[in-house]
Symmetry: C2
């Protein structure tokens, strides 16, 4: 590549101009990029749902694993997944980038492309942010804001003994994809475990439909692994859970991998991070209606266990014994 | 120090528990730390003002320059200053920390102390955030949210030819403080240039009073230096400005430094960054009322020039010639 435009020749305001040009801005009387603060008009009577995630190079992502575009898509997806878990509709997001001065401008453009795609797909408006230099590695910090009626917001604390425990989609693909990437494999087509790791899809429609229909009692997105995240729901609801591991929804590729390894990789399916599927609890009376919503949203939903009153999360292996995870989620420090 | 507790022994959830214990949480029916997203109830009919800043070690701060507590105070102050510049009342903030695993826990505690002090001083509630590891250096990302009535929000685009240009407080202290820190000096008491650099005070009361009284037409906070930030106001208002440099408010310590150097350090006063004072424009008819509000807020306010129709920002030296800044603000890349 010849005469690559560098970040330093573009400058901070040049970069901000490029960002602004790529994202539709809030409509008047709102105000996005370009003042000290964004000016937003929340819908009357709605509650505001706000989530923030910071992604640091070398900790959350390895740029050699895939194209910059997917990194941009994922940076917003993981935040939108939190809104999905509250049953909210996305409205606005804020983007902060700390960028090493030698960072390739093409990769910045790729990240912005991915963010813009994800934002457009979910009708989420870039309303502000911050750009600055970084001595070591790229940092992407995203704050996302959504809305929902107060009586429909789905929290973690509503699970009730006897509830079914549901999960959306397929578990373990992302952890398997990460492990394949670490072994040196690279992106190999849509829907593969590697694609599911690099480009997770936030389950916004499913989450919102479940909230609007008041069918679920508690919901969380699976970012730290099902066992860890279900543990949060149980602690905050003052109850426990019994999972049937053979009921966990596994993709065909995941099953093929497990068969080739001659093992059932429960560890990845039950404790692997970054699935970004939804886990929710609901009265057994709602089963048919929930399956209907799954169909409408285009995402399979599966009952994987029961909420109990015992205060523990137990995961049963097919032979009836209790599964002991080697770790129940990702440890940061 | 013996048996220092390390971050890795505390773990992510231990750290989150410590953070949660230190900050008052939103009152029901709102929800702060502990679910997928914070659940907030904006006041009916108010607009929401949102600003975000990311601070990276080695770029925005040098931990050897002062105590961790002041770093925590400043991380929130620079965001609150953006709300001050819109005339908003702070409501909630979100805190993301990327922390190297060897980072001293005492310094984390210091940062949290400083954040908690600043938050309490301005009635701003910690409603969520993210904590994770960092391979290189500490990263602090803060998003702050405030409110104001739509008709009272003060933007950058309202300046009008003939308006007075006002600034609050004193200019240049922060740039001087940074330069002294870089020369090896350290914190030397309240109100000194070094203290003003390490512990800026957001002008929230002044900003809000000006907005509530509808006395100002455009406002910005001075983070990149007066000339650069006034340039933003002029561009967005489609006008220009003429500054009288000898009218810039300079602190006694700044004057003493300038006298000792036998120079007038206009560069620091007019283009030094991180003053976090307010710059606003207003009709000359409002002078007495604005001085009154300055008194009420306890912050001096000074007329430093006029808005013009020419489209340029000109800064006049005492001898009538035009000042040429060597740089009109901080460059990030």
């Amino acid at each position: 590549m010849c005469a690559e435009v560098s970040l330093s020749s573009l400058g901070e305001f040049g970069l901000i101009d490029r960002i602004r040009a790529r994202f539709p801005q809030p409509l008047l009387p709102e105000l996005g990029i370009g003042d000290d603060a964004a000016v937003l008009s929340p819908s009357l009577g709605m509650q505001l749902l706000v989530s923030t995630d910071l992604l640091a190079e070398g900790v959350h992502f390895d740029r050699s694993f895939g194209p910059a575009r997917l990194l941009g898509r994922k940076a917003l997806a993981v935040n939108l997944s939190d809104l999905a878990a509250m049953g909210a509709r996305p409205r606005w997001f804020f983007l902060s980038l700390a960028i090493p001065s030698a960072f390739p401008l093409d990769d910045i453009e790729g990240i912005l492309d991915g963010l813009a795609e994800q934002a457009a797909a979910h009708d989420c408006i870039l309303a502000g942010g911050d750009t600055c230099g970084s001595k070591h590695g790229l940092v992407i910090s995203v704050t996302v804001m959504g809305e929902q009626s107060p009586e429909l917001v789905l929290k973690r604390n509503g699970a009730f003994p006897g509830d079914d425990i549901w999960v959306s989609g397929w578990l373990g693909d992302s952890a398997l994809g990460l492990s394949l990437l670490q072994e040196g494999q690279r992106l190999d087509g849509e829907g593969s475990p590697i694609a599911r790791h690099l480009d997770p899809v936030p389950r916004l429609l499913l989450g919102r439909e479940l909230a609007q229909a008041s069918l679920a009692r508690a919901m969380i997105d699976i970012s730290d692994g099902l066992l860890a995240d279900l543990g949060h729901v149980c602690r905050q609801s003052g109850c426990g859970a019994e999972l049937m591991l053979e009921q966990l929804p596994l993709s065909e590729r995941f099953r093929a991998y497990a068969a080739a390894q001659q093992t059932y990789p429960w560890q990845m399916a039950a404790s692997g991070g970054e699935d970004y599927e939804l886990c929710f609890t609901a009265s057994p009376d709602n089963r048919a209606a929930i399956r209907e919503i799954g169909k409408k949203s285009g995402i399979p939903v599966t009952v994987v266990g029961k909420v109990t009153s015992c205060g523990q999360v137990r995961a049963c292996l097919p032979n009836g014994s209790i599964f002991q995870p080697s770790s129940s989620g990702y440890t940061h420090f």
